[in-house]
């Protein structure tokens, strides 16, 4: 293995208004290795990568790439040098084809200086063949699932023949099968001498794929070690700076009467004849593969989409839900899956975000009661340990975990009886994750009924009293906490349980 470094970032400091995002950190990456960069949200991983590719300008420090000191101001410069990045948030052009997305901005031209679409398609096909990616380059991007879009993004990053590829949470939206494919690709890239900087919150993945691990915490460098000299508990301790004893602290809660009953709910291909009950104090897990229809079930119950047929009963009474506000009036809350698209209002303050749903309770006669709002907001901030310099801070400046806590408080302020939560800890660091789990558990203990969608098996197994499993829009089975195992759920989720 080559001993010299392809990338040396030294003494990097980067500040934003009121926040020191990176404080004198360093990162040294060898060619032909997978270097995992881990830390809680807000630790500074993504910021450092954005400094590297030229999206952010560092305040001080040096970056040496491939033996040359560089100071990038545009992402295109990074690509020219041989650094490409798979971003955490996908940015596809939905109307264009897969091939057009991959070669966006560097389309092959024909003799007339026009885009040579046929050549572009061939190039994409060759790329897919080489890396065994099962996609058709001629398909429109918008027709793909999120997982396939992620594969396109990965293929695009590889197509630059970069010397270093940054992967920021590349597996957050893909299923196990695609993860295997990605890991095969990563190993091939590594063997060709490419350096991979791998950012992830998923511990098992980190240990499966990485050669070296660097840990950041609160904008500071903590350690860099070979992966073989660390284990999961040691890594978590380094990330959070404290011992995490209970990853999934679901406490015993008294299970009461049925609060929510859904009968034969139908909507499109992803919600087919779904029926279930949910009791007070219960956490009902909704498991399944990506695209099984779990999110759609929640959204249909909540009125984001109109149900085609079926009944929803709250406390034995039938409720008509046409719009989310009807569901809220019936005592429901929905913490949505996509924090950016349907959760946060980025340019608004933490306070405004908190009170988006509960404002009617705090505005008698239409006039907002600022004193009560400030008091309630401070209570939420303390109770959920939301880290923000002030309630006036724009929510987009908070870390993902803290944004999620603000959204949790948005719903708690409406005093719901039924909480539906969709991937509550996606893209959130371990510390905030366990805090969110504790909050959910406490809510169940207080007698609220919780319906939780999660793609993380330990979360589903650890938190749920009962688990419903979905496959292609249908509920394929129900397992109790006692009899739930990963294998059993996977069988139901893949629809391979017919014999059982």
């Amino acid at each position: 293995m080559a001993d010299e470094y392809i990338l040396r970032m030294s003494n990097i400091t980067k500040t934003f208004p009121g926040v020191v995002a990176l404080n004198d950190v360093h990162l040294d990456v060898r060619p032909g290795t997978v270097h995992a960069l881990v830390g809680e949200n807000g630790a500074g991983k993504s910021t450092l990568m954005k400094v590297l590719i030229g999206m952010y300008q560092k305040d001080s420090g040096t970056v040496v790439f491939d033996g040359q000191e560089v100071d990038l101001h545009e992402t295109a410069e990074g690509l020219d040098l041989g650094i490409s990045m798979i971003h955490q948030e996908l940015a596809p052009v939905p109307e264009m084809t897969v091939a057009e997305n991959i070669y966006l901005g560097r389309e092959p031209l024909n003799g007339l200086r026009l885009v040579d679409k046929a050549l572009m398609r061939r190039m994409a096909q060759e790329l897919f063949d080489e890396w065994s990616i099962p996609l058709d380059p001629a398909v429109q991007m918008k027709k793909l699932t999120v997982a396939s879009m992620q594969l396109v993004e990965i293929a695009k990053a590889i197509s630059y023949d970069a010397k270093a590829i940054i992967m920021d949470e590349p597996t957050s939206a893909i299923t196990d099968r695609e993860v295997d494919l990605l890991f095969t690709m990563i190993r091939r890239l590594r063997d060709r001498g490419t350096a991979i900087i791998y950012i992830s919150h998923k511990m098992d993945e980190i240990f499966k794929i990485s050669d070296e691990i660097t840990v950041f915490r609160d904008g500071q460098w903590v350690l860099t070690e070979p992966a073989s000299s660390l284990d999961i508990p040691a890594l978590i301790t380094a990330m959070v700076g404290r011992e995490l004893t209970h990853m999934f602290p679901k406490e015993e809660a008294e299970i009461g009467d049925v609060l929510l009953e859904v009968r034969n709910l139908n909507r499109g291909p992803l919600v087919k004849d779904v029926s279930f009950t949910l009791r007070k104090g219960e956490i009902l897990g909704l498991a399944g593969l990506v695209g099984a229809g779990r999110t759609e079930v929640l959204e249909t119950i909540f009125g984001v989409h109109r149900a085609e047929s079926g009944q929803i009963l709250v406390d034995g009474e039938r409720v008509d839900v046409h719009e989310p506000r009807d569901a809220i009036a019936a005592g429901m809350a929905l913490l949505t899956e996509d924090r950016r698209a349907t959760g946060i209002m980025g340019v608004l303050s933490v306070r405004d975000n908190m009170f988006a749903a509960a404002l009617p309770r705090y505005s008698p006669g239409g006039m907002v009661d600022r004193k009560r709002i400030d008091r309630a907001a401070e209570e939420q901030r303390t109770a959920l340990a939301i880290k923000t310099p002030s309630l006036d801070q724009l929510i987009k400046n908070l870390s993902g975990g803290n944004q999620q806590k603000v959204l949790v408080s948005r719903w708690l302020l409406t005093m719901p009886d039924i909480l539906m939560i969709d991937e509550p800890t996606r893209g959130i660091d371990v510390g905030a994750k366990s805090e969110i789990h504790r909050i959910i558990s406490t809510l169940a203990k207080e007698g609220k009924a919780v319906l939780m969608v999660s793609s993380e098996m330990p979360e589903i197994l650890g938190m749920s009293d009962r688990i419903l499993v979905m496959h292609e829009g249908e509920v394929t089975g129900e397992v109790s906490r006692a009899e739930a195992t990963q294998d059993k759920i996977m069988q139901l989720a893949t629809g391979t349980d017919a014999a059982a």
Partner: protein, 338 residues
């Protein structure tokens, strides 16, 4: 630079306070610009710009624009636009004028009609609100993009003003009506008083009421607002009705000012209104904007108009200067929100 300390806490606090100053300066930059303009114009005009009577003139001239800009702030915060306000001004002007003619007029729209002035005032506001409501219905129920829906109003409403008035000014109006454009209270022109009143009400509406907070929420993320239970259609309907009502008030003021309801009133006014709002920091990013910003924006427009007049700058060059200032305002806004 060479004397930076190594203690992380110290550097962190230093950075915090330095950025807060920068933030403060950015936030009130527009006021600094206004003051700068006033100082410059005072110097270049040899002091005539700063005279009390001239300053009152500046504000009075810009009152109608400023009043509508208060409503446009709501519209642009929600990522909408209303191009029809200038034409709404004309409809409100001709309709209200037709209800306030004296029997001395040579052409009388409704002969023998002698209604109290308050009816004409109510008609101006009512007609404005109605046209605004129509825009709102097209946008929320027919799901037409605000730009297109109000572009339709921009043309059609102007046409209605011409049809209603037979293309002629409706003149010889009652004194009580003309008071809204020409009168004063304790030396302060009525349009200025109305402008101030509207600014205060709009500010309370935006900051202190649920309606106002929902306006920000919709602009911040309309999908999240809907999931949060906000009736976004009703809020948007309210916003377009409100800006229409304010355009009606502006139509009343302008007709009263010249003592006649002219169907050409408010021509291209929507551009000045949008310019005032945008110069005032309301952003096409959505979810960002303040009433006081739009008020200052309107004052800047008025200052430029008046100052360039005093300096005998040709109207053609005035257009170029105004355009340049709008573009510069947008560039500043872009940087601020980066």
């Amino acid at each position: 630079m060479s004397t930076t300390t190594n203690a992380p806490q110290d550097s962190a606090t230093a950075i915090t306070s330095r950025f807060n100053w920068g933030e403060l300066a950015r936030k009130y930059l527009i006021i600094l610009i206004l003051i700068g303009l006033i100082v410059l114009l005072t110097i270049f005009t040899g002091g005539s710009f700063i005279k009390t009577q001239n300053l009152i003139n500046v504000v009075r001239q810009v009152s109608a624009i400023g009043i509508i800009a208060c409503g446009m702030t709501f519209v642009i915060i929600t990522l909408g636009i209303d191009l029809s306000v200038g034409a709404t001004v004309a409809v409100a002007a001709v309709v209200s004028a037709s209800l306030a003619q004296t029997d001395q007029a040579s052409v009388i729209k409704f002969p023998g009609l002698d209604l109290p002035v308050v009816v004409a005032v109510a008609a101006a506001l009512g007609v404005g609100a109605l046209l605004g409501l129509l825009n709102g219905l097209l946008i929320t129920k027919a799901r037409i993009a605000p730009f297109i829906a109000t572009l339709g109003g921009f043309t059609a409403y102007r046409g209605i003003a011409y049809i209603y008035s037979d293309g002629r000014p409706i003149s010889t109006l009652k004194d009580g009506f003309n008071w809204f454009g020409q009168g004063d209270v304790l030396g302060i022109p009525v349009p200025i008083i109305l402008f101030a009143l509207v600014a205060v009400i709009a500010s309370i509406l935006l900051n202190r009421t649920r309606f106002g907070r929902y306006t920000y929420a919709i602009g911040g993320n309309d999908q999240a607002a809907r999931v949060s239970g906000i009736n976004i259609d009703r809020v948007r309907l309210g916003i377009y009705t409100f800006v229409g009502l304010l355009a009606g008030l502006a139509g009343l003021i302008l007709a009263a000012r010249i003592g006649s309801g002219n169907p050409t009133l408010g021509t291209q006014m929507e551009l000045d209104v949008i310019a005032a709002t945008v110069i005032g920091g309301t952003s096409f990013v959505g979810g960002i904007g303040t009433i006081w910003g739009s008020v200052v924006g309107a004052l800047i427009i008025g200052t430029i108009n008046n100052g360039l007049d005093l300096l005998n700058v040709s109207p053609f060059w005035q257009m170029v200067v105004k355009g340049a200032i709008i573009v510069v305002a947008i560039i500043i806004d872009e940087r601020k929100n980066r």
